[in-house]
Symmetry: C2
Subunit: 313 residues, 2 copies
């Protein structure tokens, strides 16, 4: 007898099904779909849904029996649409993206310091290019947001000998941050070599990266955004990049995705675009979050990583 | 009254002169030259010489009074020429290259995992490229040589969640190495994702990276050489790269430098060439080594980082 029935609605549904089966979760019937066009007939009876918010949101009205949705993503924007029901527990993926974000951010910061693209151009010309590279050591990184991802970035920054400034609403949770700022945009930005935005998408973070913040950065600064496109005033950023107000940007997320083909970001020579791949949810990372939460559900313990619909994360 | 006189013979002589002056070293007269064509008249009277081995070696016979040479480089090959005098103390730069080497090696490994070049090609075509990147986490790195540089690389590898294999003559000095190998080339190489060569140039390390070692690597492996060109059988490496026997190589050092314009490495699409810039000696890193050693000299304490002419490092 199964007390619970689960709909896995994910591009990676077969892989998740295998990972959950290997965990031999008790009292659970499982149904799967890799897209929301062909849901199994039992979908509407499932009390648990696991998957990508973008796939779940359009069919949420038909999932009449759902009591708990576990998102495979950190961001759950599609499910925050005020027109949708909120009469269920929503949990997101948290705590697993720090190492991937670290690889992304430090990969691109090192590419910048080590002149990786210029060196390859020299190679095309068979030119022995001994231009001295830079180093991360002694440089300053500013983190817009210091949650679990920011804390992971701060730890890697300290490993490479950087100074770390953190900008948060109020919390000062990471010991790897050398100085915290709460609202003093100029004091936070004035001496940064790198500005990294890892804010969630909420009303408060909208256009946090604006003309004021960009104007306070030194001309050498590189802006990296693997967070959310909504945090950035894209017109102000495009101006700052086109005018050399800042040195460069590495952008993973945008106001509109995929980035429209006529967007100026595609053409600016000091912009690198990574098409929302900074920290893709890997089934082997995400599956354990569901397994832990399912065990909590049947043990009648509180679920981990619950999303506050009002706060947005 | 100056008890000692110092010749700074370095491309960065003015900067070193300022750094040493700031340390107010007692009983020291200083002379400088940025090349060895125009040595100051007092050069032959100097008992201490500081600088690049490549500049010092050709004029060593004229430096008749020298008792101690401090190299700004880790490698001192030009001074190991058997035709040259060895009746002085030779000290090299050590312990300062680990962090720079880490930035080089991990910069290029992350560029490989994160598809940094492919992503930029996609951008040229305004293509929203969501190809999933790889991750360093769980991958295996093999270190040929585990001295202070190898230990620094091992520590960074553990930070990124990698497994570390170390190949050494006998020492097992770093706790960040998960498994040590002493001569079992196939067992060492068979499951590596990355092979990094950081051996000094000695008779024993000549062509350590040969057909046998390259043949034992998996096809996915990337070879990175910021060590010495003499460690590599370049013909065997070129064959392995041309035949897809291994995936790619990142090469900083070569048998002949600058790399000749007709060398096959310039043309292989899976080779990246960095023109001996992996860990350039920065005056702010190297000056403290001389200052410490000079203080030891006048205190009649043993100098640090003495080179054994026979061993070669």
């Amino acid at each position: 007898v199964s007390a619970h029935s689960l709909l896995i609605l994910s591009r990676h549904a077969p892989q998740y099904e295998r990972l959950f089966a290997a965990a031999t979760l008790p009292e659970l019937s499982t149904f799967t779909a890799t897209d929301n066009k062909n849901l199994p007939p039992s979908a509407s009876a499932c009390d648990i849904v696991f998957g990508e918010p973008s796939l779940i949101a359009p069919v949420l009205p038909a999932l009449t029996n759902v009591r708990w949705i576990q998102s495979t993503w950190a961001g759950v924007e599609p499910l925050l649409n005020p027109a949708l029901r909120r009469d269920y527990d929503l949990t997101n993926a948290r705590g697993v993206f720090g190492p991937l974000m670290s690889e992304y951010v430090f990969g691109y910061m090192l590419a910048h310091e080590r002149l990786i693209f210029a060196r390859r151009e020299a190679q095309r010309e068979k030119r022995w290019d001994t231009t001295a590279p830079g180093t991360l050591r002694g440089k300053q990184i500013g983190l817009l947001g210091v949650g679990t991802i920011g804390a992971a970035l701060a730890r890697t920054a300290k490993h490479f000998g950087m100074r770390v400034k953190g900008y948060t609403r109020s919390s000062e949770s990471s010991a790897d941050v050398d100085a915290y700022y709460h609202g003093e945009k100029s004091a936070f930005a004035c001496d940064l070599d790198y500005l990294v935005c890892i804010m969630p998408n909420t009303g408060e973070t909208r256009h946090l990266v604006d003309r004021e913040l960009l104007g306070a950065l030194p001309a050498r600064a590189v802006f990296i955004n693997p967070g959310r496109g909504s945090s950035v005033d894209e017109e102000a950023l495009a101006d700052a990049l086109a005018n050399g107000r800042i040195a460069a940007a590495v952008l993973d997320v945008f106001q509109t995705e995929p980035l429209p083909a006529d967007h100026v970001f595609w053409r600016l020579p000091n912009v690198l675009i990574t098409s929302h791949t900074a920290a893709l949810s890997a089934p082997t990372d995400i599956a354990p979050l569901f397994i832990e939460n399912y065990r909590r559900l049947i043990a009648e313990q509180p679920l981990l990583h619950r999303v506050d619909f009002e706060r947005g994360y």
